[in-house]
Symmetry: C2
Subunit: 394 residues, 2 copies
């Protein structure tokens, strides 16, 4: 397709390749086989719903990356990657979900053709799209190569966002604001949950002004009442009820970039313990934003939040944030640093996180969260500006 139609500038892709290759050199890797769809897109621009079959980007230390995948999806690569057409290679359809052969047989042959049959090959061992079978097949097909764990090697390079990426996230944030406000506005007793989600999905894809809406990496999560004690239940056709809280865990998506945002609405007067928790959560978010400064560490954010929650006796067990940006299903997190007491990542300007201190208690759930940008100086900047409160509708 060529660089002129790619989502990002030539300089941006050059920066990404250089950063990744420096990390490869440090890890002693000759060639990287990148299976994470987010990493593929970040390096090459490849964009398609084809990650349910084996595919990836081959990144040697020199020259342009090569996109490798199913023959019919190579057509999609020709339409989306910035490299020349000869950097796209397809494999035969007989390998697809076959019980007698495996696509890694083709990949091994291609690496051999590139003179890499004895290379130190980096593979993403912890990734949805590089199966255990793929690993075992590649080991068997490349007896003289050395497979090296390169899990999250590219993901770590994505941690600090460029101005071009931050502009995409601001577009996503505009959409997040709109759909969270829409959910709060529409919520009422008797409305079937799927009807609510239908309007949220429509608005998210319509987008805001020129920012058209892409599909988010996680579907809208909108559980009510006791279902909201679990963070990841999806919707059904049941009506919303008075006396229940519903949280909206939503993200707008602009060209695969995300800015998740959560708010909670209670239909009718909330119980006092929920009101107290919402206030403590707000104080925790405020303290966390203050702590989320360049030079501080991820753990400082988690500890600042935890101190406020403990004042009212809530001991929150889980992590409370993760990096965000470019992503594909099933997760909009980047799977590197975490906001938690044991994580020591130093914060830098341009890092972006979903600061996500959801509370899933015995009888109800409450989510008030912010997608944030670490700035040059001062506290973190939230991407969205929806009032930080428990919304109540009488």
């Amino acid at each position: 397709m060529g660089l002129e139609n790619a989502p990002f500038s030539a300089a941006e892709y050059a920066r990404r390749l250089a950063k990744t290759r420096a990390a490869m050199e440090k890890a002693g890797i000759d060639v990287l086989f990148v299976t994470d769809p987010s990493n593929q897109a970040w390096l090459t621009g490849y964009d398609g719903w084809s990650f349910y079959v084996h595919q990836g980007v081959i990144l040697p230390m020199e020259g342009d990356p090569v996109w490798w995948g199913r023959n019919q999806d190579a057509n999609g690569a020709l339409r989306t990657v910035w490299m020349d057409d000869d950097k796209v290679i397809g494999y035969d359809d007989r390998y697809i979900q076959s019980t007698t052969c495996h696509p890694m047989e083709d990949l091994a042959k291609r690496l051999g053709d590139m003179g890499l049959e004895r290379a130190r090959v980096g593979v993403e061992l912890e990734n949805y799209y590089f199966s255990a079978k793929a690993y075992l097949a590649l080991v068997a097909e490349l007896p003289n190569a050395r497979l090296v764990d390169a899990t999250a090697l590219v993901n770590w390079q994505r941690l600090v966002k460029s101005p071009e990426e931050i502009a995409f996230m601001r577009n996503a944030a505009k959409i997040s604001e709109r759909i969270v406000r829409l959910g709060i506005e529409l919520a009422r007793p008797g409305l079937r949950k799927n009807e609510l989600v239908a309007e949220i999905s429509r608005a998210g894809i319509l987008g805001v002004d020129e920012a058209w809406g892409d599909y988010p990496a996680i579907v809208p999560l909108t559980p009510s009442g006791v279902d909201a004690t679990a963070p990841h239940l999806t919707w059904n056709g049941e009506p919303m009820k008075a006396g229940e809280a519903t949280f909206f865990e939503l993200s707008g998506c602009y060209r695969r970039y995300h800015a998740p945002l959560c708010r909670t609405v209670h239909l009718g007067k909330p119980p006092q313990d929920m009101i107290d928790a919402a206030e403590a959560l707000n104080a925790g978010l405020e303290a966390g934003l203050e702590a989320a400064r360049a030079g501080n560490r991820t753990r400082d954010v988690a500890n600042a939040l935890g101190a406020e929650l403990e004042k009212i006796g809530i001991k929150r067990a889980g992590r409370c944030g993760y990096p965000i940006g470019l992503s594909y299903p099933p997760d909009w997190g980047e799977r590197t640093a975490s906001f938690r007491a044991t994580d020591e990542t130093v914060l830098e300007p341009g890092m972006t996180f979903h600061f996500m201190p959801g509370l899933w208690l015995k009888d109800w759930g409450l989510e008030t969260t912010e997608s944030i940008l670490i700035t040059e100086s001062g506290p973190a900047e939230p991407f969205c500006s929806v009032e930080r409160q428990l919304f109540v509708k009488d």
Copy 2:
């Protein structure tokens, strides 16, 4: 939650467990660790968007299955599985996307507690949600166990659908019909593609009558013109144009069950080669439906289609169908049998497939497909009844 609220009857779950255990016995497996979300749901009813972290169902040869996952998602299991609460176990959040420990350490301990540290443990080596790292960690943590490849062992048990499952698929099919018709109806030059997809998504989630819409395992695929030469590109904010064909590859989803349906619309008069291809495709579909009879084989369907396409010189390389039913992202196929010339699966009543002979040619793409049910006698029955033709809008 108990069987009274589960999607299926007690007899249905008992049937599923018995079938799976017979297959385990045949494969010499003492305990199965099921990571495929579709297989987890099929066995236990578990339903949530939590498959982006490690979780699974432990199925020993006796007693009820055990759902194992992240602590916070155990709350979701308590709300969705049919087993008693003591069959749900959670692991600590410190394992989540950690660089220093792995959830499989916890799983190995649990299997040990169940007296299975020397068992033959079946694992799904070829699955999105059992990573290479998970496999290596489990091998290291269970030095006295024997890990056996149980890829698709459960999937194969899902091939023949029960009447209860077919009823769910008929609901999904009603939604598929509605959204494909809506896409054709709305398509016009100047309409931004994301606006079209927004309406399709809304209608799919609204559903039809009492059949509320769940999220499909693949987002709407609606490429136009040259983008339709690739099967899996998603939408953007560009306007539709006169002189271009757009295919709709869509599925309604009812409680995780699918019935995909594809049709193509051309804005303006189509080129003659597209008209000819559409006619040959229809003849091929007709011939394939005739061949898709109980007692015939999957390859017979592929060959019947291929013969009709070859009459006009189209040699189609890929497979042309796959089993469908219960599914989670990233694929609505079941990943077992395929309609292709080398596949010899014998067709049985109750099997359901997406008969999917998409054409992705040099300058355009064309999809006319059917979700079908293999019947007791006679040709396969399509689930949907949208006119089988290339739609043309002037």
